[in-house]
Amino acid sequence: MLYDVKMTVNGAAVAGQVEARTLLAQFIREHLRLTGTHVGCDTTQCGCCVVHVDGVAVKSCTMLAVQAVGRSITTIEGLAAADGTLHPMQEAFREHHGLQCGFCTPGMVMMAVDIARRKPGADEKTVRHELEGNICRCTGYQGIVEAILDGSAKINAARINSAEA
């Protein structure tokens, strides 16, 4: 049996028909063909599939598509500005060599944006702890941690500036 699902993905209304067992990650990858969201495990450990659901980081392999009905989803494809300018966190990952093979990267970046939101001003120790749900096999995390510290500082500085303006 198929179910109708409707949700907002990267600002656009989308609809589809899914099985009850279809994961949000599968819906995003296979139905919407947004393949930036990756699946690196089947036990909710790796974090390659992190997206934002109503602004909060969620592992999309651990949520059913039918649970996302009516919600607003942001994937890695929706993070850069409409004109293509990279999000400050994406820029920071490039600047600090926070990615190698790029497979864990979309989940890492989406998680990093969430950390910046929840823990403004977090120190290195806190950032490392906050990454307990994301695995990277290439970088040894150093570039990722540096990127998150730098990217968070820039995001939060911009936030303060815009609040003051």
């Binding site: 099985e19 067992r21 990858r29 063909r33 947004l34 393949t35 930036g36 969201t37 990756h38 699946v39 690196g40 495990c41 089947d42 036990t43 450990q45 790796c46 390659c48 994937t75 890695i76 494809e77 993070l79 850069a80 990279l86 994406q90 990952f93 490039r94 600047e95 060599h97 990615l99 190698q100 093979c101 790029g102 497979f103 864990c104 990267t105 979309p106 970046v109 290195e124 950032v127 490392r128 702890h129 990454l131 307990e132 994301n134 695995i135 990277c136 096999r137 290439c138 970088t139 040894g140 995390y141 150093q142 570039g143 990722i144 941690v145």
Partner: protein, 774 residues
């Protein structure tokens, strides 16, 4: 063009695409009318197959094909290629089993492929796979290499006596035995080099796409060496290479693991040929643990002999290595091709190594970052620390006393390595200074005050990189003067695109944004051996450099012709001559080269060049790692407090990427030492660590900031003076971490440590040491 010159910390050109979610990994691809395969795997480590019934699966919704070993046998395809070239102890040929993509008589490890179910969706293929019925007669299994070689052990292949695949001997046995017999001190130890898993974040996957009209196969897959892969595939399918196209997209990490032609590649190609439609298979993570190759896994006994001054006089090593249930070409190379690392940076005159490779009821083994280097480095660098402890000499001092001095270069070690250059003592001193070695005892005492056991561990390791071989590169000027750069090597995240574009941009004056990088497609790449063994910077980089040299040489002649002068000067992409105030850019020359009127008489049109760089000698990256740890005796938890590295990887092409390689390697080495391990149940042969819930992957919290300083001694073995950097971090980390942990516990009487040194194990060691009579 200084901005992109070699040596600059250029940010990667591949990143914007990957950061936007624009990577194209094999599972991201969907071809028209594609079907999906699911592999039914053996639940037993060793069993005879009595009956396979696929009738219910075949009738299930959406199923379009169900393939078994019988279909494979009838297909006209051959066996998968296996490792060769070695001998057994009696001089006979190594044992090479038959290796069909789907087995039909026996299963030999948990995960051995038996049936391939193909349906119109992946979910339906998986559902139908549940309906396949296979009757097995379980047999006793053996998963450990030493037990496999014992008399009476279950035979993985019935006609392979004692499960012994091959024996490899290296060094001077008589000289070594004599030196050990005569030695003042001999340090002896047994080491268990655990079995670990590359655990690339992207699992393996393949799409087979047979074009019946053209009678040609395309395979999109995860690999490291596109042309070598095609060669092996050609031998497997009994199809000429010209009828095969192999394409790698983005590869989500490999570390040696994805390099082989695995069973599933054969399955998707056979299914595609059967169905005349593309067929995709992607491993789930649970499946990857069962179906991927694992790494390391040996038992080693080693002896280091020293004279009265603490000089090493001989090293003798015997190891029994696990080769898994089957081999692939080179899958066993970790057992023999990097033993040279055992000789270390030391003058030890006599070395002998005796390696036995054994079949077991376990997954295929493959190179995993270092491929024998970390194992060898662990053995020698642990032995040095044990010797220092037994002799009461400082471990840094004992290393210094035995190091090969720069004036002794070139230096032939007691094994195969012949070092061309290296300043080991200087690099050691660099690390000792970085870590403030002299101040360590004060830090240990301060930690003790806080109830923590602080230890320091040194490793100084050396390995070979870019073993003799070749690599190809091609610079194609497009008609308007932009460039398509084609490389024979294949990146799995190392950043080839960036350093290659740096070279081309710097030499030819074309902005990197106007260079398109192409790799991994056998229809495009003319020559190359691909990636592995830390070879790309030295061989691939030199090939790219060499291609740009050819372009410059031809462009000079064209520019001189156009400027009507005898000779031109060339710098930063511009041709000039003191005899004229006109100049030409490389782009102008490239565009002009498309028209014969601009060319000297008889010159070929266009400004394209391909080059092959061949190195007859390998290079020897080396370096010092020093780690300080603190162990909490109440919990057994080890915290890495400080990590410094001084590394000689020759000329640094891009310091940002170099750090990334070293730190990434360190994480895998430390991971093996403290948490990772593939474990099997001794009796049933079942894998006990079959998911990320059981197989502990290193997380960000495990590491401190790692400080790395490059201390290069350029090598002359390639055009760029670079040494390999891909494996160095992993090689140094494993022994340095062990040495630091043993040092933290040695006052309790702990003399050795088992990998993985988990908190539970460390805690038990501390408790047992406390109870042991003084």
């Amino acid at each position: 063009m200084g901005e992109f010159a070699l040596g600059q910390p250029v940010s990667r050109f591949e990143d914007p695409r990957l950061l936007r979610g624009g990577g194209r990994y094999v599972d991201d691809m969907v071809l028209p009318n594609m079907a999906y395969g699911h592999v039914v795997r053996s639940p037993h480590a060793h069993a005879r197959i009595l009956k396979i019934d696929v009738s219910r699966a075949r009738a299930a919704p959406g199923v379009v094909a169900v393939l078994t070993g019988e279909d494979w046998a009838k297909s006209g395809f051959g066996d998968l290629p296996t490792a060769g070239g070695k001998k057994r102890r009696d001089g006979g040929k190594m044992y090479r089993p038959k290796f069909p993509a789907l087995t039909s008589d026996k299963v030999r490890y948990v995960g051995d492929p038996v049936v391939f179910v193909v349906a119109d969706t992946a979910a339906r293929a998986q559902d139908a796979a549940e309906l396949v019925e296979i009757d097995y007669e379980p047999l006793p299994a053996v998963t450990d290499s030493i037990r496999a070689a014992e008399a009476g052990a279950p035979l993985v292949h019935e006609d392979c006596e004692n499960n012994i695949c091959f024996v490899h001997l290296e060094g001077d046995k008589a000289k070594t035995d004599a030196a050990i017999a005569a030695a003042r001190h001999v340090v002896r130890r047994k080491f268990r080099l655990s079995r670990v898993y590359a655990a690339t974040m992207e699992t393996r996957g393949s799409i087979g796409d047979y074009d019946r009209a053209a009678d040609r196969y395309t395979c999109y897959t995860t690999l490291q060496r596109a042309l070598n892969f095609r060669e092996e595939l050609s031998a497997t399918l009994h199809v000429p290479e010209s009828k095969l196209r192999v394409v790698a997209g983005d590869i989500g990490g490999s570390f040696g693991m994805k390099s082989g032609v695995f069973n599933e590649v054969g399955m998707v190609l056979l299914a595609s040929k059967t169905l005349s439609r593309p067929v995709k298979w992607t491993a789930s993570r649970s499946e990857a643990f069962l179906a991927d190759a694992h790494g390391r896994d040996n038992h080693t006994e080693a002896e280091l002999a020293l004279d009265e001054r603490g000089k090493f006089t001989a090293l003798r090593v015997r190891s029994v290595n696990n080769v898994g249930a089957y081999t692939q070409p080179g899958s066993d190379s970790g057992s023999y091709s990097n033993l040279g690392t055992l000789a270390g940076v030391y003058t030890t005159p006599a070395v002998h190594v005796d390696v036995t490779g054994c079949y077991t009821n376990t997954n295929i083994m493959r190179p995993f970052r270092g491929n024998g280097r970390p194992e060898a480095a662990f053995v020698i660098e642990r032995l040095v620390d044990i010797a220092a402890d037994e002799l009461g000499v400082d471990p840094a001092e004992l290393r210094r006393r035995n190091m090969i001095s720069p004036d002794a270069m070139p230096f032939q070690t007691g094994l195969s390595f012949n070092y061309d250059c290296g300043e080991f003592e200087k690099v050691l001193d660099g690390a000792l200074e970085m870590v403030d070695y002299k101040g360590f005892e004060a830090r240990r005492a301060a930690a003790r005050e806080r109830g923590k056991l602080r230890g320091i561990g040194i490793s100084y390791t050396i390995e070979k990189a870019a073993g003799p071989g070749f690599e190809g590169a091609e610079v194609r000027f497009d008609r308007t003067g932009s460039i398509t750069l084609v490389a024979g090597s294949v990146t799995q995240g190392q950043g080839h695109e960036t350093v290659f574009k740096q070279i081309v941009s710097d030499r030819l004056g074309i902005h990197p944004d106007e260079i398109h990088y192409l790799q991994g497609d056998t229809d495009q790449v003319f020559l190359g051996e691909g990636t592995g063994g830390s070879r790309t910077s030295a061989l691939g980089g030199s090939a790219v450099f060499s291609a740009t040299e050819k372009v410059v040489a031809k462009a000079r002649r064209i520019a001189a012709h156009m400027l009507q002068v005898e000779e031109v000067d060339y710098a930063e992409g511009v041709f000039t001559s003191p005899k004229t105030n006109r100049s030409l850019t490389m782009r102008e020359v490239a565009r002009s080269a498309m028209s014969p009127k601009n060319l000297p008489q008889g010159m070929e049109i266009g400004l394209n060049a391909n080059a092959v760089f061949h190195a007859s000698r390998q290079n020897y990256p080396n370096g010092c790692h020093i780690i300080e740890v603190e162990i909490d005796p109440e919990t057994g938890v080890t915290s890495i407090e400080r990590y410094v590295v001084t590394d000689d990887v020759g000329v640094v092409m891009n310091p940002k990427l170099l750090k990334g390689q070293i730190v990434g390697g360190i994480a895998q080495g430390v991971g093996q030492m403290v948490m990772e391990e593939i474990r099997f149940d001794d009796q049933s042969g079942q894998i006990l660590t079959g998911s990320f819930m059981d197989y502990a992957m290193p997380h960000a919290e495990l590491f401190p900031h790692i400080d790395i300083k490059a201390m290069p001694t350029p090598t002359k073995t390639n055009l760029l003076g670079v040494k390999g950097a891909g494996e160095a971090g992993c090689v140094g980390a494993l022994p340095a971490m062990a040495n630091a942990m043993v040092d933290a516990l040695s006052h309790l009487g702990v003399k050795d440590i088992v990998m993985p040194a988990t908190p539970e194990r460390v805690w038990r060691m501390i408790e047992e040491a406390k109870r042991a009579p003084a």
